[in-house]
């Protein structure tokens, strides 16, 4: 068995770009360098054509029409535009939002900003132990002054996919705008903004084998027509919602990436899910006291999040240095807190520190999966020999009854 190391299993952080996407982008860096708003010459027309085609490609992937796609610099900007744009535009209606506790960091941070600076109130939606939001909870959280419901379609850490259609229906009945950060879901699972009742949807290029620095916001135009206050003023590009000269090569790449996902998703997701299932089964068969975080039945095909009891995440990553992975351990996060997503499932802090996220993708091979299973089992076994907690657990000591003193 030959594999090249390091092995990349951090596709939910970012994906490598598909060579076909690069090929689609290249002409727009050089010969076809025009400004898409230049209406009076062929350079401009060629750029405009590329942008129009990409808008179609992105729209088709999510069941939208091209006019509903606004290009941005990425997922974070799309999220900012959606949430702040609604907050500004619908300020007369109210200052209340409903947000899932497991929504992404950008969503949490934008909402915190509105609470701090603009006097907004937020109702946080809890999730069940699989990480799912209940539509009934959404209904119960709505108020007359609610302007937005935000539920991330698929989670970046645990891969849990939400019942978007049920939540969308509740929002629609109440006449509240339904926003979703779909950066993790788009291109991986079928997305249909009509069937799911979505009004605003953020996506990004670099998680679907496209380039970094480009993303899009879907903005519903009918039933209802959603209006947003622009967050960047300038030349009135993108229907006045997002000024700034478009990143034409990036947009062309995003379009191509979207088209590849649309045409290849059915076969690709089956192949990737089979690799993920093998990874999961291989690890679970060889080690005791491991638990899968999230949902087994409503999960992205390329995600596997496991807690390895009695072993700390950063030390696992150190031992698995030939494999690029992420952990929910505090030592590996910017905030020095263990993963809030895993904590929201009701998983103990200790097991959040002990979690690893494996995310595979288009270029992952069966050989890589087998290699990683072997290295994970070796590393965890070695670290457990070194772990006083594993020793105590094996001696039959109930760790929850020990009086630990925090430091």
């Amino acid at each position: 068995m030959t594999v090249n190391t390091p092995i990349y299993m951090d596709y939910q952080s970012t994906t490598p770009m598909d060579p076909r996407v690069l090929e689609a982008m290249l002409p727009y860096f050089t010969n076809l360098f025009g400004h898409p708003s230049s209406r009076n010459h062929s350079f401009g027309w060629a750029a405009e054509q590329a942008v129009d085609a990409a808008r179609e490609q992105v729209a088709e992937l999510i069941g939208a029409s091209a006019k509903e796609v606004i290009f941005t610099s990425g997922g974070t900007e799309a999220i900012n535009l959606a949430i702040k744009g609604v907050a500004d535009m619908y300020a007369e209606k109210g200052r209340h939002m409903v947000v899932a506790v497991t929504d992404s960091r950008p969503v949490q941070d934008v909402v915190k900003h509105l609470v701090r600076e603009r006097g907004f109130e937020v109702t946080e939606l809890k999730v069940d132990k699989e990480g799912r939001v209940s539509a009934d909870d959404v209904r119960a959280a709505l108020r007359p002054d609610t302007v937005l419901v935000s539920v991330m379609m698929a989670n970046n850490e645990i891969g849990t996919v939400q019942d978007m259609a049920a939540i969308g229906k509740v929002a629609k009945e109440a006449g509240v705008i339904f926003f979703t950060d779909a950066t993790e879901a788009v291109g991986k699972v079928p997305v249909d903004v009509q069937a799911m009742g979505i009004d605003l949807l953020a996506l990004t290029g670099h998680k679907i084998y496209g380039p970094k620095g480009v993303g899009a916001l879907y903005v519903r135009r009918k039933n209802p027509r959603v209006r947003l206050s622009a967050q960047i003023d300038g030349g009135g590009h993108e229907r006045g919602m997002r000024s700034g000269t478009l990143n034409v090569p990036g947009v062309a790449g995003l379009g191509k990436a979207a088209e590849l996902c649309r045409t290849e998703m059915a076969a690709e997701s089956v192949r990737i899910a089979a690799l993920r299932d093998r990874l999961e089964a291989g690890i679970l068969a060889a080690l005791d006291e491991v638990s899968v975080n999230g949902s087994r039945s409503h999960r992205l095909p390329h995600n596997l999040n496991i807690s390895f009891a009695y072993v700390e995440g950063e030390s696992m990553l150190m031992g698995l240095k030939e494999v690029a992975l992420a952990s929910g351990s505090a030592c590996t996060t910017a905030t020095l807190e263990p993963s809030y997503v895993i904590r929201a499932l009701g998983v103990s802090e200790e097991l959040a520190h002990s979690s690893l996220r494996f995310s595979i993708g288009r270029f992952t091979t069966a050989e890589e999966v087998e290699f990683v299973i072997g290295r994970v089992v070796e590393t965890i076994t070695r670290l457990r020999e070194m772990s006083p907690l594993y020793e105590m657990a094996k001696e039959g000591i109930d760790l929850s009854q020990v009086h630990w003193s925090a430091h």
Binding site: S315, L336, P338, E350, H353, E391, W404, H407
Partner: protein, 138 residues
């Protein structure tokens, strides 16, 4: 995060990893930290009749720097008297392992573990104990 060569060396080749029986003569055991904080160190010393630490062992749940700090502590403890052991400061560990600021707490934990282990020995042999940090578990 980039680790220093010394941290990597202790992580890859931990010194004195293992356990003594807690009830063995001359053994002192210190367990500090908490699982929910992401690090727990168990440090044990075996002290002979002349009051010299003749052996030391550790087990650690925690990041690479925590493992390295406790591994280094066991190396330093061997051959020391109780008083010399209690003189080891966390800053000595920081310096030796080149720990970055976010990892200083690992060295503090190791210092606490040394004190807890030595005091456990003193307790068990009926001698007066020394002041310990607040990291000890019971």
């Amino acid at each position: 995060m980039a680790y220093s060569d010394k941290v990597l060396d202790h992580y890859n080749n931990p010194r004195n990893m293992g356990s003594f029986g807690k009830e063995e003569d001359g053994v002192g055991t210190g367990i500090v930290g908490a699982p929910e904080c992401g690090d727990v160190m168990k440090l044990q010393v075996k002290i002979n009749d002349d009051g010299i630490i003749e052996d030391a062992k550790f087990k650690t749940f925690g990041c690479g720097s925590a493992i390295a700090s406790s591994s280094l502590a066991t190396e330093w403890l061997k051959g020391r008297t109780v008083d010399q052991a209690l003189a080891i400061k966390n800053t000595d560990i920081v310096e030796e392992l080149n720990l970055p600021p976010v990892k200083i707490h690992c060295s503090v934990l190791a210092e606490d573990a040394i004190k807890a282990a030595v005091n456990d020995f003193l307790n068990r042999s009926g001698k007066p104990t020394q002041a310990v940090g607040d990291g000890s578990a019971s």
